[in-house]
């Protein structure tokens, strides 16, 4: 059988050692009624070539960014992935190992995660970061839960920007629904596409626990974190900054600069393929004073019995395997292999490369927007500053999208399914993967 190496002789020898004649005796204590109905009605196994053929057929029914021009962002981004990234994450020492519970034989994973935590801190301008969580959306929900652990019982109102990614808002709602004391309130956005600060200030009060903003937000707009933080600080609320496009932090002042209490986001942009949206990883950073309230894995530095530096999982008394029902979270996965991909990616980009990549993205996006407005009669929807994503209104959007589709272009994401107040609005993302000639064709397709 596939992957089971036992010959009939092996099996006979092992059964003899165990002292039984038939392998069925190993599970005869399982009630007979259960055994009799346990047959799996699935087809027989396939040879590797047949497996590949079947999977290749399925893959061929999808539109891949290698054959199509995607101007799609909205939380998952098409960026270049250096070959070196996959070379590292394909190494079985990284890919097939378990959570590093035995640090003496896991220093590779542990040191890489320590480096990852450092990179997240540097990028977000925060003091401490964990080793990662599932994705950006659950990171946002976990951030709200963390704020709940820190804030007094009198503060249970959560203000969530309507310009935060719709999936993230939904996941926060899902997590909060179980905790009857948490009350969510949505804050509208203004003409700039940023969260309406007047409304935010009006909603903030002595019962506010935290404020959740996208940075940049779902429309690609760069929120005014300085003003938001000032308002939060006056009211005693935590500011949670949520970034779906972490490349933006290569160019923009980081959330930590403004004093955000928690900065989280999705890290897929850094060396992880789009994969239909998963797996990527959530990053999660905070201020030093809050580290004991963090969810998830943490790697810390220490020394061995000979005084050599080494790394271990630490502050485990926050975690489920020790604290059980009193743990800070139930999460025990850190998307480590994806976090490793990001660590390799960021070490290849480095200080100058990351900045330059971010600049190329911003430049291409700004040029594309200007051309769409000038040459394709698209209208700007928002006036706020943006990074590599922006919203335009395109007349007769359905037809324009169909026309683009015929030319193997997906011009962006229609916003009306989440924002009925934004009809015919298209969220367009331009990255270093969208060549000048592609933008040319996008403009032509939308111009009609």
């Amino acid at each position: 059988m596939r992957y089971t190496p036992h010959t009939l002789d092996d099996q006979a020898r092992m059964l003899r050692t165990i002292g039984i004649q038939d392998i069925k005796q190993l599970y005869e204590h399982v009630p007979a009624r259960l055994r009799e109905t346990a047959g799996i009605r699935l087809p027989g196994g396939l040879a590797e070539v047949a497996v590949r053929r079947r999977l290749a057929n399925l893959a061929a029914k999808n539109a891949a960014a290698t054959d199509w021009s995607f101007f799609l962002g909205g939380g998952i981004y098409h960026h270049a992935i250096p070959s070196a990234v996959d070379a590292v994450v394909s190494r079985s020492e990284f890919a097939t190992s378990y959570t590093p519970y035995q640090p003496e034989v896991s220093q590779g994973t542990l040191q890489a995660l320590y480096e990852f935590q450092t990179l997240v801190c540097q990028l977000t301008g925060m003091e401490a970061a964990n080793a990662g969580v599932y994705d950006g959306a659950s990171a946002a929900a976990e951030a709200v839960l963390m704020s709940r652990r820190i804030q007094p019982l009198s503060r249970r109102q959560v203000l969530v920007s309507r310009a935060l990614h719709p999936h993230y808002r939904e996941v926060i709602r899902t997590y909060a629904r179980n905790l009857e004391d948490v009350a969510l309130q949505e804050i509208r956005f203004g003409d700039s596409g940023a969260t309406d600060l007047e409304r935010l200030r009006a909603a903030l009060g002595p019962s506010t626990m935290c404020v959740v903003l996208g940075y940049p937000n779902f429309f690609g707009v760069i929120e005014d974190l300085a003003s938001a933080q000032a308002a939060c600080a006056r009211a005693g609320a935590h500011l949670i900054s949520v970034t779906t496009e972490p490349l933006a932090l290569g160019l923009l002042k980081p959330p930590g600069f403004f004093g955000a209490e928690i900065a989280v986001g999705e890290g897929q942009s850094f060396g992880v393929p789009m994969n239909l949206g998963g797996p990527g990883f959530g990053f999660f950073a905070t201020q030093r004073r809050f580290i004991r309230n963090l969810p998830g894995r943490l790697v810390g530095e220490t020394v061995d019995v000979e005084g050599r530096r080494g790394f271990v999982l630490t502050l485990a008394t926050r975690e489920q395997h020790i604290r059980r029902e009193r743990a800070t979270s139930n999460i025990c996965t850190s998307q480590t292999l994806c976090a490793l991909a990001a660590t390799v990616f960021l070490s290849l980009m480095g200080k100058t490369g990351l900045r330059r990549l971010a600049e190329i993205n911003a430049a291409r996006a700004h040029q594309a927007r200007a051309r769409l407005i000038r040459e394709a009669r698209a209208e700007a929807v928002f006036s706020g500053p943006f990074f590599n994503e922006f919203v335009v209104r395109v007349r007769d959007l359905d037809r324009a999208i169909r026309r683009a589709g015929e030319r193997r272009i997906v011009p962006g994401i229609e916003l009306s399914r989440w924002y009925p107040e934004l009809p015919e609005a298209l969220l367009v993302c331009v990255t270093e993967m969208n060549e000048r000639e592609e933008v040319e064709r996008l403009v032509a397709a939308l111009a009609g």
Binding site: M1, T4, M14, I18, L26, Y27, V30, A38, G39, I40, R41, L42, G44, G45, R52, L55, A56, N62, L72, V88, R91, S92, T96, E104, V105, S106, Q107, Q111, Q122, Y134, D135, A137, H165, R177, N178, P273, M274, N275, L276, G278, P279, L298, G300, E301, V305, R309, V312, R323, A327, N330, T333, L337, C338, S347, M349, L354, R356, A363, P385, E432
Partner: protein, 502 residues
């Protein structure tokens, strides 16, 4: 006078941190054909300086760093890795090949659905397969990992009961449960009642019936449980829970013991999650990504998370219009890349191959149990399923503990079993060999365990000070927790250099 350089170990040495390597201005990024960004496009006050402290390395330099790090890790392809409850089976290479097909790796979740038909077909089919294997009616592939599957499962139990006008506050969790079970219960707003397993290591229907009342929403049970024992009374236990209007949740972490042997759906289970990174061979990745699909009986279908995949007139669609749903538990469509690998595994093995995998997993575990039982104390003298649990009782009188045994195994080139879990066993050693190991590997591991038992008697110091051959030796975990250092900082790097710690 020539100065002698200090000789370092040629292999298995930790490289310096990324931040202590390289040189200012160096980068592995090369993008010559583009002008710089016209800074005027964005207000200057929004922009940061280059990221302070970021690495500055060339491509080979960076690669060598990570390759050297990889040499410090044990992995399944280099070592036997019998971690109990983790199912460290072989992660097939073909899974990796197909997951990297551009039609899977480079597809966008918000592309129009007609452009994603192959992906949705795969997901739809995988849902059906997992339902068949587990004996359940409907599956959602959304949850990112086992613990999120648990949370999702509990949320839908909560939503279902609330809908029946029967809001309840408590969850019964056996003392042998994974820590995630009580943690997920709390996260879902429930209070936890812990119940003890009986002298045979399993749940007793009478015990459950005693604590079961109209305040209890569900029992969370693991089968086989974390002692590697089949919960042989599970039908009666489920009956006791159902009799008082509760539901039964099964933690499917140990599904690798059950394929073709017993289906959870036939045991009275209403909701369960599966760990695709265990039973269905997707790589653990050093701690993720995994996938934790949740499966339910028909009565709970409407509460499954959104989006759901449906087939309409021969085409696959994503549907979010399920008013009773618990909502969305993560972004997009689950950990698709992991799901592709699990799909590939099931396709490769087929129904018969999966059943064979479980049988061989049982054979390997029982073989280890038999050969070691004269040298180590069994936690429970009951027939085991896919894993067996020993204790350090026999070694204790020499001052040797489970931790010492685990560390000494490293010197023999084996990853240790799961240790000190389940909590009900003092000094537990939980061994799960999985079906993909040869009897020769098992023999070598068993011989090492026997040798350690002998060392514990004859030379306990050797065992107590192990490991002796790993890149670092025992690490001071108390120090790490007392004064947490969670990141590199330039000032500390300087200080450490002065103190010669590196």
């Amino acid at each position: 006078m020539s100065q002698r350089l200090p000789v370092k170990r040629a292999f298995g040495c930790a490289p310096p941190l990324l931040f202590d390597s390289g040189s200012p201005g160096r980068s592995g990024f090369f993008w010559p054909e583009e002008d710089a960004f016209p800074a005027a496009e964005l207000p200057a006050e929004l922009l940061r300086d280059a990221v302070e402290g970021f690495p500055e390395l060339g491509e080979l330099e960076a690669l060598r760093h990570f390759t050297q790090l990889s040499h410090l890790n044990f992995g399944i392809e280099s070592q036997f890795y019998p971690l109990g409850s983790c199912t460290m089976k072989y992660n097939p290479k073909v899974n990796e090949t197909v997951a990297r097909f551009p039609g899977f790796a480079h597809i966008h979740p918000l592309a129009p659905v007609p452009l994603l038909q192959g992906a949705l077909e795969l997901l739809y089919e995988l849902e059906g397969w997992l339902a068949e294997i587990s004996g359940m009616d409907h599956v959602s592939l959304q949850p990112s990992a086992g613990a999120q599957g648990e949370l999702t499962g509990l949320m839908l139990i909560r939503a279902y009961l609330a809908d029946c006008g029967d809001a309840r506050q408590k969850i019964i969790v056996p003392d042998t449960a994974h820590g995630t079970n009580p943690a997920s219960s709390t996260l879902c707003g429930y209070e936890v009642i812990q119940v003890s397993s009986n002298e045979q290591g399993v749940m007793d229907p009478a015990t459950v019936a005693r604590v079961m009342n109209e305040e209890v929403a569900a029992l969370m049970i693991t089968n086989p449980n974390t002692l590697g024992l089949f919960e042989k009374n599970i039908e009666a236990v489920a009956g006791a829970v159902h009799a008082r209007g509760g539901l039964v949740y099964l933690d499917g972490a140990n599904l690798n013991a059950l394929m073709g042997i017993a289906k959870p759906g036939h045991m009275g289970v209403d909701v369960l999650h599966m760990n695709l990174h265990k039973t269905f061979s997707t790589p653990h990745g050093g701690g993720g990504p995994g996938a934790g699909p949740v499966a339910v009986k028909a009565a709970l279908r409407d509460y499954l998370p959104v989006p759901r995949i449906e087939k309409q007139n021969g085409a696959y669609v994503l549907s979010e219009d399920h008013p009773k749903s618990v909502g969305r538990v993560r972004s997009f469509l689950g950990n698709f890349g992991v799901l592709v690998r699990a799909y590939t595994y099931i396709l490769s093995l087929g129904g018969d191959g999966l059943a064979e995998a479980s049988r061989m997993a049982l054979l390997n575990a029982n073989y280890i149990r038999k050969r070691l039982e004269k040298h180590y104390s069994l936690a429970y003298n009951e027939p085991c399923m896919h894993e067996c649990v020993f204790t350090d009782r026999a070694q204790h009188r020499f001052g040797v503990t489970t931790l010492d045994i685990a560390k000494r195994l490293l010197d023999y080139g084996f990853h240790p079993p799961t240790i000190y879990f389940p909590l009900v066993v003092s000094g537990a050693l939980m061994i799960e060999p999985t079906e993909t190991e040869t009897p020769e590997t098992l023999d070598a591991f068993i011989d090492a365990m026997i040798a350690i038992a002998r060392e514990a008697k004859e030379n306990p110091e050797l065992v107590k000070t192990a490991p002796h051959s790993t890149p670092v030796r025992r690490l001071d975990e108390a120090r790490a927790a007392r004064k947490p250092v969670l990141r590199w900082e330039p000032e500390r790097a300087e200080r450490d250099k002065e103190q010669g710690m590196l």
